[in-house]
Symmetry: C2
């Protein structure tokens, strides 16, 4: 029910995914009448792989997480996460309020043993490839131990994705020399150096786009600012490009000629292809779609949910944590 467009986007995307993967089941959670209508509008037939799970409430996009947790026990978000908890679903995908989703998922599903806090991880394009980055906003302040846990969780996700068998792990910092950074980052560097992760050192904001790490680890404040700044610059350049091509008759003619090239560029950088952030560290799969996702983008988020459920990412993270902490794992 969540996101800026609600079921008009999520329902058609769900139907497309169901069609694409013949071995999955899909549970739509939300207001029954609205969902039934959305299914009708989308021209859905009866399908025993598709079920409806009613929920009478909706968490607002700007609602405080604590409010949602307390007063919205029958929200589509809460009921969807409950489905994962009860084992009726293997993944929950939502375009709703990020803070409320994180708080509810953490409350209902709990974190894995050894994980203090879940983190938000997403995929970002870079020269000749892509990398993953976490945390992107769940944790404003992080200790070195948190950053280390993020590195373990993110590495498992990169490995499962097939991008790298030994993911290169970098720590986001304001310089690449050893003396640079705050205490948390310096201590996290030590923890990573002493671990069996493939730690490649500090990574600066510009260098992460040069394909020097498969995983960039940072606190949620810095990660959020870095990701959004990147999106902001890309949007500005795109707007400037449009303006320059619309300047006069000559530039408009040039635009027509350059159109296939500009389209190819757009395809390469289309944020919709990267939609879907993983909430890692929970005892279950939860994927957050961008609130403004259209159908194509929401399908990508659903694909991530399918992928993480198939690969049993939480279980694999749990196993890896067992190895990392070798019997000394905190509960």
């Amino acid at each position: 029910m969540g996101g800026d467009y609600g079921p008009s986007v999520t329902v058609p995307a769900a139907l497309a995914i169901l069609e694409r993967h013949q071995d999955i089941r899909l549970v739509l959670v939300g207001d029954e009448a609205t969902l039934t209508q959305a299914l009708k509008t989308a021209g859905a037939g009866t399908d025993n792989r598709l079920t409806l799970q009613p929920a009478t409430q909706v968490v607002d996009m700007d609602e405080a997480p604590s409010q949602a947790l307390r007063y919205k026990k029958d929200s589509s978000m809460r009921v969807a996460i409950d489905q994962v908890k009860s084992g009726n679903a293997d993944a929950c995908v939502s375009a709703g309020n990020t803070g409320a989703l994180m708080a509810t998922a953490r409350y209902v599903l709990k974190t894995l043993p050894g994980i203090d806090r879940p983190a938000i991880c997403t995929t970002i394009p870079c020269l000749g490839g892509r990398f993953r980055m976490l945390d992107l906003g769940a944790n404003v302040d992080c200790t070195a131990e948190h950053l280390f846990q993020f590195a373990v969780m993110g590495s498992v996700l990169v490995e499962a994705s097939g991008d790298s068998e030994q993911p290169r792990v970098g720590l986001l910092n304001l310089g690449e020399e050893e003396i640079k950074g705050n205490d948390q980052v310096k201590q996290a560097a030590q923890l990573l150096q002493d671990s069996d992760l493939h730690y490649v050192g500090y990574v600066e904001g510009d260098r992460m786009f040069k394909n020097i790490a498969d995983l960039v680890v940072c606190d949620g404040f810095t990660g959020n600012v870095a990701l959004k700044s990147s999106e902001g610059v890309a949007a500005m350049i795109s707007q400037y490009l449009r303006e320059e091509f619309q300047r006069n008759l000559l530039t408009r003619a040039a635009a027509v000629v350059a159109l296939p090239v500009l389209r190819a560029l757009r395809r390469r950088l289309d944020p919709r292809n990267y939609n879907g952030a993983s909430l890692l560290g929970l005892r279950g799969v939860v994927v957050k779609s961008h609130g403004g996702a259209d159908q194509t983008a929401f399908e990508q988020a659903l694909e991530k949910g399918v992928f993480e459920a198939r690969e049993a990412i939480p279980h694999r993270i749990d196993e890896r944590l067992g190895e990392v902490f070798a019997g000394e794992r905190p509960a």
Copy 2:
């Protein structure tokens, strides 16, 4: 003497500035033989507005600031800052080691009363304009009071530049709702709200490129990551654009047609036009040029030095601090 190219870039840029501003004097600081040769190569005649100040040492680009401060007392950097201290120069412009420049400037010139730490401030393009951002890396950890001091200093610079009479001051944060952010940011928001600065609230990384603030304030860690991430994305898009236009004969033909448009875009975003970061909070003008600056870029940094000396920015910041702290200013 500093930067990646040394006098082969800085000397021709200095001569160009001297030509452009008939009322300024210029002191070139560094190895006498090297500078004399560079002047000769650049075809400089005798000019009583141009003097040479010998310095026998050079601070390396990767030298630790503490080392530079201790063992390089006759470096071009130190001697140039000494020129400002003694009153023989009104501004120091350097393309050298940022950390060493900041440490030396702070040691020699001292901070203004009421300023705990100097900060690095630069100009960044945004939709339909530009904004300034500080700190960009001088201060890894900042208290709310530091952030507030940055806001005061940055506001003076924006006002003097003529961009805005009442600069809109925003705090960089991972959300725009009041509950978002870490303790320092939340407390700084309170200080700004209670001040007579034109505080416009929290600014997210993407929104700062939409021209919603004239000044974006943050700690040096976050600011550095945000700025470099932005530069990294812009470089990646530029590289992708080149690749797409070079893909085949057709796209190469399109590139020829689109060339004037692409050139116009480049002009609008050319980082060389924004070169030169101000070290604010000192009792003197110090401007840091990008180490990789070419002549055009270094001229911009020199222009900033001329501007800040003419506008007596340190004096204006000092006056404003007097108003802000109204008699209760710490020494």
